[in-house]
Symmetry: C2
Subunit: 232 residues, 2 copies
């Protein structure tokens, strides 16, 4: 692995702080609300299908998730979603938007030391703009970052635009995140390096088959292991 | 007015392209859907109150607008919003997200010539990230801009952050937009200049009382008049 990069990008949700578990809990709540109409499995599948279909309208984030839950509720109840459940879904969304930010073990220490060793740190995250900004503020991690980029998607072109904007060459850029699909593959494809830190829960939409042996890539179990790789 | 700035920021909605009129049309549709429960005036007022209350959760943009319409519908029908109306509201939101981008007269010519004369142009807009990105792509205006900044709000600190990030001093920055509250006052307050171009429709949340005589500020009727002011 090339260790000459000076710029390190960090995914936020499930890399710096917990996120997916909140969505999974919300999904469980949603399944309970509609348990008289369908099994949890059916509901989860219907919600996922509608979420994916709606990405082109809503992008990623909680507001789109809430709108997709409502649409799924309508579909499952054959257009007869009760006012009670509708209210519960909207409250569930607002609760999600107000969840405390729970940092993943070791994050603050790793960022502190990487900053100390002169790396330029960047957050690269997708989701709703206001929601991600508020999470960053609440996280107390803003001070470690040179730049924060909230993107509508994490495809090669989004990374390429970011690197152009920062005036950084791909070979000088390392991305760290929990999603092979969003944080690793597009960065490798444009000539950067990537570290994968799997999180215990991953949204099915982010799943990819085993990527096998790749150059400029490694997988670690915890963010603290970055120290060993970069030898800082 | 100081004419020495090299950087010009443009608001997007209702400065580069039509926007507010689409929201007003959607509001009219919404009032029609619920006309059996309340007058258009009552519905508009209730929706506005809920929108403003929800800004802290949803920020600005269409997804939050849709969620607020649903909440207003629930309130007005005493929790008995019909599935039919709920579906109509969700469709209305998706229609809004797919509206064609209708450029305001003179915009492309003005941007073309300002770019030609060496000004660095920046878009500064609030709203949903994906929605604003798609509008910019569809507008065909991306090529004129050095940088595009989609912000969650347009307060002094948001402008200050942007200028720091671009490494631009406030005295070298001119902002152009249709909202005194969002595009003019915060920029003047941090030491920049601003041009106000009123649009025929302004969301009530953006209204401010007459601002009187201000330094580093002028008002024009159409974007084409920028040429006279900058003498290009």
């Amino acid at each position: 692995m090339n260790l000459k990069f000076k710029w390190i990008g960090f995914d936020a949700d499930d890399t710096l702080w917990e996120n997916e578990s909140y969505f999974r809990e919300a999904e469980e709540e949603f399944c309970k609300m509609l348990k008289d109409y369908a099994t949890a499995e059916e509901l989860t599948k219907a919600l996922y299908d509608i979420e994916v279909k709606n990405i082109k309208y809503y992008g990623y984030g909680i507001k789109g998730f809430v709108l997709s839950m409502i649409e799924t509720g309508m579909q499952i109840t054959d257009g007869k979603l009760s006012g009670e459940v509708l209210e519960e879904i909207i409250s569930l969304g607002k609760e999600l938007l107000n969840k405390p930010v729970c940092l993943i073990d070791g994050v603050a220490e790793v960022l502190e030391s990487l900053k100390y060793w002169g790396y330029k740190l960047v957050v690269v995250t997708k989701g709703d703009l206001l929601d991600q900004e508020k999470k960053l503020q609440r996280s107390g991690l803003e001070k470690y970052f040179h730049h924060i980029e909230i993107v509508s998607d994490k495809q090669e072109e989004n990374y390429q635009k970011l690197l152009n904007h920062l005036d950084v060459k791909p070979k000088d850029f390392l991305m760290v995140g929990n999603s092979l699909k969003s944080d690793v593959l597009p960065v490798l494809n444009i000539g950067g390096s990537a570290i994968h830190i799997p999180f215990h829960t991953t949204w099915i939409h982010e799943h990819v088959e085993n990527v096998g042996e790749l150059d400029h890539f490694c997988e670690i179990k915890s963010i603290s292991e970055i120290h060993h790789i970069l030898s800082v």
